[in-house]
Amino acid sequence: MKNKNMKLSVEYLIPKYQDNLYQAAFSVLQNPADAQDAVQTTMIRYHYLNQEFEDEEHIRKWLFKTVINASKDIRRSFWRRNKVSLEETMASIEFERIQDQSLFQEVCSLPEKYRIVIQLFYYEEFTIQEISQLLSITQSNVKKRLSRARDKLRNVLEQEDEHVN
Protein backbone atom coordinates (compact mmCIF):
# COMPACT_ATOMS: atom_id res chain seq x y z
CA MET A 1 0.00 0.00 0.00
CA LYS A 2 1.36 3.42 -0.90
CA ASN A 3 2.01 5.89 1.91
CA LYS A 4 -0.22 8.93 1.93
CA ASN A 5 1.69 11.51 3.84
CA MET A 6 2.09 14.45 1.51
CA LYS A 7 0.18 17.73 1.57
CA LEU A 8 1.98 20.45 -0.34
CA SER A 9 1.19 24.03 0.57
CA VAL A 10 -0.91 26.33 -1.60
CA GLU A 11 2.01 28.75 -1.61
CA TYR A 12 3.90 26.13 -3.60
CA LEU A 13 1.04 24.84 -5.75
CA ILE A 14 -0.58 28.07 -6.89
CA PRO A 15 2.39 29.56 -8.81
CA LYS A 16 3.16 26.16 -10.28
CA TYR A 17 -0.30 25.14 -11.44
CA GLN A 18 -2.53 28.18 -11.72
CA ASP A 19 -2.03 28.70 -15.46
CA ASN A 20 -2.52 25.01 -16.24
CA LEU A 21 -5.66 24.83 -14.13
CA TYR A 22 -6.91 28.04 -15.71
CA GLN A 23 -6.45 26.59 -19.19
CA ALA A 24 -8.40 23.48 -18.21
CA ALA A 25 -11.18 25.58 -16.69
CA PHE A 26 -11.21 27.82 -19.75
CA SER A 27 -11.62 24.81 -22.02
CA VAL A 28 -14.90 24.10 -20.18
CA LEU A 29 -16.16 27.63 -19.59
CA GLN A 30 -14.60 29.79 -22.34
CA ASN A 31 -14.97 32.76 -20.05
CA PRO A 32 -11.84 34.24 -18.41
CA ALA A 33 -13.55 35.49 -15.24
CA ASP A 34 -15.43 32.25 -14.65
CA ALA A 35 -12.31 30.20 -15.32
CA GLN A 36 -10.42 32.34 -12.80
CA ASP A 37 -13.16 31.67 -10.24
CA ALA A 38 -12.93 27.94 -10.85
CA VAL A 39 -9.19 27.98 -10.16
CA GLN A 40 -9.62 29.95 -6.97
CA THR A 41 -12.40 27.68 -5.78
CA THR A 42 -10.14 24.71 -6.39
CA MET A 43 -7.29 26.20 -4.39
CA ILE A 44 -9.58 27.11 -1.52
CA ARG A 45 -10.96 23.58 -1.44
CA TYR A 46 -7.48 22.12 -1.50
CA HIS A 47 -6.37 24.37 1.34
CA TYR A 48 -9.25 23.31 3.59
CA LEU A 49 -9.04 19.64 2.61
CA ASN A 50 -8.20 17.34 5.51
CA GLN A 51 -6.33 14.83 3.47
CA GLU A 52 -2.85 13.79 2.52
CA PHE A 53 -1.65 12.47 -0.80
CA GLU A 54 0.83 9.89 -2.05
CA ASP A 55 2.91 12.31 -4.11
CA GLU A 56 2.73 15.53 -6.12
CA GLU A 57 1.30 13.76 -9.14
CA HIS A 58 -1.57 12.56 -6.99
CA ILE A 59 -2.17 16.17 -5.90
CA ARG A 60 -1.99 17.35 -9.50
CA LYS A 61 -4.68 14.90 -10.56
CA TRP A 62 -6.85 15.96 -7.63
CA LEU A 63 -6.45 19.61 -8.67
CA PHE A 64 -7.45 18.92 -12.25
CA LYS A 65 -10.43 16.78 -11.29
CA THR A 66 -11.58 19.46 -8.88
CA VAL A 67 -11.15 22.39 -11.26
CA ILE A 68 -13.12 20.53 -13.93
CA ASN A 69 -15.91 19.81 -11.44
CA ALA A 70 -15.82 23.42 -10.23
CA SER A 71 -16.07 24.61 -13.84
CA LYS A 72 -19.12 22.43 -14.43
CA ASP A 73 -20.58 23.82 -11.20
CA ILE A 74 -20.16 27.35 -12.48
CA ARG A 75 -21.54 26.44 -15.86
CA ARG A 76 -24.72 25.11 -14.22
CA SER A 77 -25.13 28.11 -11.96
CA PHE A 78 -27.74 30.73 -12.75
CA TRP A 79 -25.40 33.28 -11.27
CA ARG A 80 -22.84 32.81 -13.98
CA ARG A 81 -21.28 35.99 -15.19
CA ASN A 82 -22.37 37.65 -18.41
CA LYS A 83 -20.81 35.88 -21.34
CA VAL A 84 -17.77 37.40 -22.91
CA SER A 85 -17.70 36.79 -26.63
CA LEU A 86 -14.93 34.68 -28.02
CA GLU A 87 -13.82 37.63 -30.15
CA GLU A 88 -13.42 39.78 -27.05
CA THR A 89 -11.46 37.02 -25.33
CA MET A 90 -9.19 36.56 -28.33
CA ALA A 91 -8.64 40.31 -28.60
CA SER A 92 -7.28 40.28 -25.06
CA ILE A 93 -4.65 37.65 -25.88
CA GLU A 94 -1.49 38.68 -27.66
CA PHE A 95 -0.72 35.75 -29.90
CA GLU A 96 2.79 35.55 -31.22
CA ARG A 97 1.65 34.46 -34.67
CA ILE A 98 -1.50 34.66 -36.79
CA GLN A 99 -1.49 30.86 -37.06
CA ASP A 100 -1.70 30.63 -33.29
CA GLN A 101 -4.88 32.66 -33.33
CA SER A 102 -6.38 30.39 -36.02
CA LEU A 103 -5.67 27.26 -34.06
CA PHE A 104 -6.99 28.81 -30.87
CA GLN A 105 -10.19 29.82 -32.64
CA GLU A 106 -10.60 26.37 -34.13
CA VAL A 107 -10.14 24.68 -30.76
CA CYS A 108 -12.64 27.04 -29.18
CA SER A 109 -15.19 26.13 -31.83
CA LEU A 110 -15.05 22.46 -30.80
CA PRO A 111 -17.73 21.09 -28.49
CA GLU A 112 -16.74 21.39 -24.85
CA LYS A 113 -16.40 17.64 -24.38
CA TYR A 114 -13.71 17.58 -27.09
CA ARG A 115 -11.93 20.71 -25.87
CA ILE A 116 -11.27 19.39 -22.38
CA VAL A 117 -10.00 16.05 -23.69
CA ILE A 118 -7.66 17.83 -26.10
CA GLN A 119 -6.37 20.08 -23.33
CA LEU A 120 -5.71 17.21 -20.95
CA PHE A 121 -4.10 15.07 -23.65
CA TYR A 122 -2.05 17.51 -25.66
CA TYR A 123 -1.11 20.06 -23.04
CA GLU A 124 -1.09 18.21 -19.76
CA GLU A 125 0.05 14.92 -21.32
CA PHE A 126 -2.31 12.80 -19.26
CA THR A 127 -2.80 9.26 -20.54
CA ILE A 128 -6.11 7.99 -21.88
CA GLN A 129 -6.66 6.11 -18.64
CA GLU A 130 -5.94 9.17 -16.53
CA ILE A 131 -8.26 11.33 -18.62
CA SER A 132 -11.04 8.77 -18.23
CA GLN A 133 -10.60 8.97 -14.43
CA LEU A 134 -10.50 12.75 -14.39
CA LEU A 135 -13.64 13.10 -16.49
CA SER A 136 -15.43 9.99 -15.16
CA ILE A 137 -15.95 8.59 -18.62
CA THR A 138 -14.81 5.34 -20.19
CA GLN A 139 -11.48 5.07 -21.95
CA SER A 140 -13.35 4.21 -25.12
CA ASN A 141 -15.17 7.54 -24.88
CA VAL A 142 -11.91 9.37 -24.35
CA LYS A 143 -10.47 7.81 -27.47
CA LYS A 144 -13.56 8.63 -29.52
CA ARG A 145 -13.56 12.25 -28.43
CA LEU A 146 -9.85 12.59 -29.02
CA SER A 147 -10.12 11.05 -32.45
CA ARG A 148 -13.00 13.32 -33.48
CA ALA A 149 -11.27 16.40 -32.13
CA ARG A 150 -8.09 15.57 -33.99
CA ASP A 151 -10.10 15.06 -37.20
CA LYS A 152 -11.64 18.51 -36.83
CA LEU A 153 -8.31 20.15 -36.06
CA ARG A 154 -6.36 18.32 -38.74
CA ASN A 155 -7.08 20.92 -41.43
CA VAL A 156 -5.96 23.90 -39.44
CA LEU A 157 -2.91 22.07 -38.17
CA GLU A 158 -1.90 21.13 -41.71
CA GLN A 159 -2.56 24.63 -42.97
CA GLU A 160 -0.18 25.90 -40.36
CA ASP A 161 2.37 23.42 -41.58
CA GLU A 162 2.00 24.65 -45.16
CA HIS A 163 2.31 28.24 -44.05
CA VAL A 164 5.54 27.52 -42.26
CA ASN A 165 6.94 25.53 -45.18
Binding site: K4, Y22, D37, L49, F53, T66, Y122
Partner: protein, 200 residues
Amino acid sequence: MSIEDERKKYRQVFSQIHIPQKIEVNVERNTRMNWMKKHAAALSAALLILSGSSAAYAADLGGIRTQVTYWLNGSLEEIEAVSNEDGGYDFYKEGEDEPFVSGGGVWIDDFGNEHALDAQDVADSTLNEDVHIKDDDTIWLKTRLGEWDITDLFRDQDTVRVTDGDRYYEISCAKDLSSTSMRSFHEPFGNAEFVNLQSS
Protein backbone atom coordinates in the same frame (compact mmCIF):
# COMPACT_ATOMS: atom_id res chain seq x y z
CA MET B 1 1.28 14.49 -38.82
CA SER B 2 2.38 12.68 -35.68
CA ILE B 3 0.76 13.16 -32.30
CA GLU B 4 3.97 14.70 -31.03
CA ASP B 5 3.92 17.32 -33.81
CA GLU B 6 0.27 18.08 -33.04
CA ARG B 7 1.10 18.33 -29.36
CA LYS B 8 3.92 20.74 -30.07
CA LYS B 9 1.69 23.03 -32.13
CA TYR B 10 -1.06 22.89 -29.54
CA ARG B 11 1.30 23.73 -26.71
CA GLN B 12 2.82 26.56 -28.74
CA VAL B 13 -0.61 28.22 -28.83
CA PHE B 14 -1.99 27.41 -25.42
CA SER B 15 1.17 28.23 -23.52
CA GLN B 16 0.19 31.82 -24.36
CA ILE B 17 -3.02 31.53 -22.32
CA HIS B 18 -2.47 32.76 -18.78
CA ILE B 19 -4.73 33.28 -15.81
CA PRO B 20 -5.89 36.94 -16.00
CA GLN B 21 -5.05 37.82 -12.38
CA LYS B 22 -2.22 35.97 -10.72
CA ILE B 23 -3.34 34.57 -7.41
CA GLU B 24 -1.32 35.73 -4.44
CA VAL B 25 -1.58 33.87 -1.21
CA ASN B 26 -1.45 34.99 2.35
CA VAL B 27 -1.92 32.19 4.83
CA GLU B 28 -2.14 33.12 8.46
CA ARG B 29 -1.15 30.45 10.83
CA ASN B 30 -1.65 30.16 14.55
CA THR B 31 -0.54 27.82 17.24
CA ARG B 32 -3.92 27.53 18.91
CA MET B 33 -5.54 24.11 18.90
CA ASN B 34 -8.21 24.65 16.29
CA TRP B 35 -11.65 23.32 17.11
CA MET B 36 -12.65 23.43 13.49
CA LYS B 37 -10.16 20.83 12.43
CA LYS B 38 -10.75 17.10 12.49
CA HIS B 39 -7.08 16.46 13.13
CA ALA B 40 -5.66 18.27 16.10
CA ALA B 41 -2.43 19.97 15.19
CA ALA B 42 -0.03 22.28 16.94
CA LEU B 43 0.08 24.49 13.86
CA SER B 44 -2.95 25.03 11.69
CA ALA B 45 -3.89 27.38 8.88
CA ALA B 46 -6.61 29.65 10.18
CA LEU B 47 -7.25 31.79 7.15
CA LEU B 48 -6.58 31.69 3.46
CA ILE B 49 -6.71 34.98 1.61
CA LEU B 50 -6.54 35.09 -2.15
CA SER B 51 -5.79 38.48 -3.60
CA GLY B 52 -6.50 39.49 -7.18
CA SER B 53 -9.77 37.68 -6.85
CA SER B 54 -12.67 38.39 -9.13
CA ALA B 55 -14.75 35.76 -7.40
CA ALA B 56 -17.98 36.31 -5.51
CA TYR B 57 -16.83 33.79 -2.95
CA ALA B 58 -15.93 34.82 0.56
CA ALA B 59 -12.82 32.86 1.49
CA ASP B 60 -13.02 33.53 5.19
CA LEU B 61 -14.25 31.82 8.32
CA GLY B 62 -17.77 32.84 7.34
CA GLY B 63 -17.69 30.21 4.66
CA ILE B 64 -17.52 29.93 0.92
CA ARG B 65 -20.79 30.94 -0.74
CA THR B 66 -22.22 29.73 -3.98
CA GLN B 67 -25.58 29.49 -5.68
CA VAL B 68 -27.03 26.07 -6.34
CA THR B 69 -30.27 24.78 -7.80
CA TYR B 70 -32.66 22.05 -6.77
CA TRP B 71 -35.99 20.65 -7.93
CA LEU B 72 -39.02 21.52 -5.84
CA ASN B 73 -42.37 20.18 -6.99
CA GLY B 74 -41.21 19.97 -10.57
CA SER B 75 -39.64 23.41 -10.88
CA LEU B 76 -36.03 24.44 -10.55
CA GLU B 77 -35.35 26.63 -7.51
CA GLU B 78 -32.25 28.58 -6.49
CA ILE B 79 -30.75 28.72 -3.03
CA GLU B 80 -27.48 29.80 -1.47
CA ALA B 81 -24.99 27.28 -0.14
CA VAL B 82 -22.48 28.33 2.53
CA SER B 83 -19.67 26.01 3.58
CA ASN B 84 -19.80 25.12 7.27
CA GLU B 85 -17.37 23.89 9.90
CA ASP B 86 -18.26 20.26 9.38
CA GLY B 87 -16.96 20.18 5.85
CA GLY B 88 -20.47 20.39 4.37
CA TYR B 89 -22.90 23.16 3.49
CA ASP B 90 -25.77 25.09 5.03
CA PHE B 91 -28.53 25.98 2.57
CA TYR B 92 -30.42 29.26 2.74
CA LYS B 93 -33.58 30.36 0.97
CA GLU B 94 -33.63 33.91 -0.37
CA GLY B 95 -34.10 36.50 2.33
CA GLU B 96 -33.69 34.07 5.22
CA ASP B 97 -30.93 34.24 7.81
CA GLU B 98 -31.21 30.69 9.08
CA PRO B 99 -30.38 27.63 6.99
CA PHE B 100 -33.36 25.41 6.25
CA VAL B 101 -31.23 22.32 5.75
CA SER B 102 -27.59 21.29 5.96
CA GLY B 103 -25.67 18.46 4.47
CA GLY B 104 -22.39 17.14 3.26
CA GLY B 105 -20.93 14.16 1.55
CA VAL B 106 -17.95 12.65 -0.12
CA TRP B 107 -16.94 11.07 -3.39
CA ILE B 108 -14.31 8.39 -3.59
CA ASP B 109 -11.55 8.53 -6.19
CA ASP B 110 -9.84 5.59 -7.78
CA PHE B 111 -7.24 5.54 -5.05
CA GLY B 112 -9.95 5.07 -2.46
CA ASN B 113 -9.53 8.58 -1.13
CA GLU B 114 -12.59 10.47 0.01
CA HIS B 115 -13.13 14.02 -1.20
CA ALA B 116 -15.76 16.48 -0.11
CA LEU B 117 -18.64 16.91 -2.55
CA ASP B 118 -19.15 20.34 -4.04
CA ALA B 119 -22.16 22.43 -3.12
CA GLN B 120 -24.35 21.40 -6.06
CA ASP B 121 -23.71 17.72 -5.42
CA VAL B 122 -24.60 18.11 -1.76
CA ALA B 123 -27.79 19.93 -2.76
CA ASP B 124 -28.60 17.15 -5.21
CA SER B 125 -28.12 14.46 -2.58
CA THR B 126 -29.62 16.27 0.40
CA LEU B 127 -32.60 17.89 -1.24
CA ASN B 128 -33.38 15.73 -4.23
CA GLU B 129 -32.65 12.27 -2.88
CA ASP B 130 -34.40 10.37 -0.19
CA VAL B 131 -35.10 6.80 0.87
CA HIS B 132 -38.26 6.30 2.90
CA ILE B 133 -40.60 3.60 4.10
CA LYS B 134 -44.28 4.01 3.33
CA ASP B 135 -47.17 2.99 5.55
CA ASP B 136 -47.54 -0.27 3.67
CA ASP B 137 -43.93 -1.18 4.62
CA THR B 138 -42.59 -0.71 1.12
CA ILE B 139 -39.18 0.90 0.68
CA TRP B 140 -38.92 3.73 -1.84
CA LEU B 141 -36.04 5.66 -3.32
CA LYS B 142 -36.72 9.18 -4.57
CA THR B 143 -34.21 10.96 -6.77
CA ARG B 144 -34.28 13.91 -9.11
CA LEU B 145 -35.28 11.54 -11.90
CA GLY B 146 -38.12 9.70 -10.24
CA GLU B 147 -39.33 7.43 -7.47
CA TRP B 148 -38.87 3.65 -7.31
CA ASP B 149 -40.14 0.83 -5.11
CA ILE B 150 -36.97 -1.04 -4.14
CA THR B 151 -38.56 -3.31 -1.51
CA ASP B 152 -37.86 -6.51 -3.43
CA LEU B 153 -34.15 -5.80 -3.60
CA PHE B 154 -33.93 -6.18 0.18
CA ARG B 155 -35.41 -9.66 0.21
CA ASP B 156 -32.06 -11.37 0.89
CA GLN B 157 -29.81 -8.53 1.95
CA ASP B 158 -29.60 -5.45 4.13
CA THR B 159 -27.67 -3.30 1.70
CA VAL B 160 -28.40 -2.72 -1.97
CA ARG B 161 -26.69 -0.76 -4.70
CA VAL B 162 -28.74 0.91 -7.41
CA THR B 163 -28.50 3.64 -10.01
CA ASP B 164 -31.17 5.83 -11.57
CA GLY B 165 -28.96 6.24 -14.63
CA ASP B 166 -27.56 9.51 -13.32
CA ARG B 167 -26.24 8.85 -9.81
CA TYR B 168 -25.28 5.76 -7.81
CA TYR B 169 -26.74 4.80 -4.45
CA GLU B 170 -25.85 2.47 -1.63
CA ILE B 171 -28.87 1.96 0.61
CA SER B 172 -29.13 0.04 3.85
CA CYS B 173 -32.32 -0.87 5.62
CA ALA B 174 -32.79 -2.52 9.01
CA LYS B 175 -34.68 -5.84 8.87
CA ASP B 176 -37.44 -4.44 11.08
CA LEU B 177 -37.65 -1.33 8.86
CA SER B 178 -36.80 0.86 11.85
CA SER B 179 -34.09 2.78 10.02
CA THR B 180 -32.57 3.38 6.64
CA SER B 181 -29.40 5.03 5.45
CA MET B 182 -28.15 6.07 2.06
CA ARG B 183 -24.99 7.24 0.37
CA SER B 184 -24.95 8.60 -3.15
CA PHE B 185 -22.14 9.17 -5.60
CA HIS B 186 -21.39 10.70 -8.97
CA GLU B 187 -20.07 7.43 -10.29
CA PRO B 188 -19.91 3.76 -9.39
CA PHE B 189 -17.26 2.83 -6.88
CA GLY B 190 -15.11 -0.20 -6.38
CA ASN B 191 -16.23 -3.39 -8.08
CA ALA B 192 -19.80 -3.20 -6.87
CA GLU B 193 -22.61 -3.94 -9.28
CA PHE B 194 -25.48 -1.51 -9.42
CA VAL B 195 -29.04 -2.38 -10.33
CA ASN B 196 -30.26 0.03 -12.97
CA LEU B 197 -33.69 1.18 -11.84
CA GLN B 198 -34.49 2.61 -15.27
CA SER B 199 -34.40 -0.80 -16.86
CA SER B 200 -35.80 -2.94 -14.05
